[in-house]
């Protein structure tokens, strides 16, 4: 899908290239310029998460995969607008899976980049304060939470994500997995996402995905997670 979308949206790509650079401190969940979604800048260099995630993976993941979701999302939004303008309900409804997939891909990756950080520079270690208290309360211990997360990640059949979420009504923490690019929505607030698509680790870890799931804890940005938890 990526290449065909790229072929059909030259104008859109030109617009994306022309966008003004955003300050890294924006911490935006998703970024938009004049109604179009744009690829957010990474808050660190491509090589900054090594040796846990290689620079090559980060560059492809951000500049190619995430960019494709941004392009796909904008194309779907545009097609939805055209369908709406023509009163074509059938064509509008046909955009739903594309909006979910590409919009979800944009949202998920935007959250993911922000909840990672270079090891020792905001990444790794353990959560503290109220977040740690909540994790202990809902998972028994931080170690147990990590173990449960890794089990959930390993159990994903196909492409998908695992998320630490906060139930908006009860305030309780929970672990959920989502297929493909389905975003976390509704009553659940996503606090921490881990990408279990093969493109997130394959160039470095190949089929040894358990090693990737084990390594990623060294680059989790608990400061970001705590901010999302406190919201």
């Amino acid at each position: 899908m990526s290449s065909s979308l790229l072929r059909t949206t030259p104008v859109l790509r030109a617009g994306l290239r022309a966008r003004a650079a955003k300050p890294l401190a924006a911490m935006a969940t998703t970024s938009f310029t004049r109604g179009k979604a744009t690829l957010p800048d990474l808050p660190y260099d491509y090589g900054a998460l090594e040796p846990y995630i290689s620079g090559q993976i980060m560059e492809l993941h951000h500049s190619k995969h995430h960019q494709t979701y941004v392009n796909g999302f904008n194309a779907a939004v545009e097609a939805l607008g055209d369908a709406q303008a023509k009163g074509d309900s059938k064509a509008a409804a046909a955009q739903a899976p594309l909006l979910n997939f590409h919009g979800g891909g944009h949202v998920n990756h935007s959250l993911f980049w922000e909840n990672l950080a270079p090891n020792g520079k905001g990444g790794g270690g353990e959560p503290d304060g109220q977040l740690l208290t909540a994790i202990k309360q809902d998972f028994g211990s931080f170690e147990n939470f990590k173990k449960q997360t890794n089990t959930a990640l390993a159990g994903i059949q196909g492409s998908g994500w695992a998320w630490l979420v906060k139930d908006k009504s009860s305030g309780n923490l929970g672990l959920v997995t989502r297929a493909n690019q389905d975003p976390v929505t509704g009553n659940l607030e996503p606090l921490l996402g881990i990408d279990a698509w093969e493109h997130a680790y394959y160039l470095q870890y190949q089929n040894r995905k358990a090693e990737y799931f084990s390594a990623i804890w060294d680059v989790i940005n608990w400061g970001t997670v705590a901010k999302r938890f406190a919201k």
Partner: protein, 212 residues
């Protein structure tokens, strides 16, 4: 209840035989690691399932169904996939090796090229991991896509499948899956496809029985 144990079927060619369309490194990992993991996990799930049946433990039986479908599907899909690929130097990789099938393809889509266009569109439209298949449904040919490792287990006869999981191409093609799809046409085993087209479901699934 005793259950059979599946084993990894040998590849009908060397790991590097599909180069340059599919690299030897991909083939080796794909066969010896990924396919092996589906076989191992299927055997493990079936063993636990047999225990649950013996114990009349229905909740456990139900809980195991996702693992059986996923790993059993992975075993079925990959077993069919290896057999429907061929080194490009072989006459089997020439669509002339499938006269009856290509005639029906032309009959259905107008031409082999038109069929390939439709198949490529379906393959590139898969959201996430999955497969694209040309199947015979009754007497009609159809293109279907399946998610994750869902196997084609309706009444259809799978003619050939193309693996669209990222592990099938990423080490060589990175995010360029369109190029992978373009190059895989050079290593489709049309002789196998013709045999499956002329046969029935049992013929297509012979390879599975052989791995028991």
């Amino acid at each position: 209840m005793s259950v059979g144990t599946f084993s990894l079927p040998a590849l009908p060619y060397a790991y590097d035989a599909l180069e340059p369309s599919i690299s030897a490194q991909i083939m080796e990992l794909h066969h010896s690691k990924h396919h092996q993991a589906y076989v191992t996990n299927l055997n493990s799930a079936l063993k636990t399932y047999a225990t649950a049946i013996a114990a009349n433990d229905v909740p456990s039986q139900i809980a195991l169904q996702a693992a059986i479908k996923f790993n059993g599907g992975g075993h079925i899909n990959h077993s069919l996939f290896w057999e429907n690929l061929s080194p490009s130097s072989s006459p089997d990789a020439d669509s002339a090796s499938a006269p009856a099938l290509t005639a029906e393809i032309a009959n259905t889509w107008g031409s082999l090229e038109k069929f390939q266009e439709a198949m490529v569109k379906a393959l590139l439209g898969i959201q996430g991991s999955g497969w694209g298949w040309l199947v015979k449904d009754g007497n009609a040919l159809r293109i279907v896509t399946t998610k994750d490792q869902d196997p084609v287990v309706g009444g259809e006869v799978p003619i050939f499948g193309i693996d669209m999981w990222e592990h099938a191409y990423y080490l060589q093609y990175l995010n360029g899956k369109a190029a992978y799809v373009e190059n895989i046409w050079k290593v489709i085993n049309w002789k196998t496809a013709e045999q499956r087209f002329k046969g029935d479901r049992d013929d297509a699934f012979k390879i599975l029985k052989a791995s028991l």
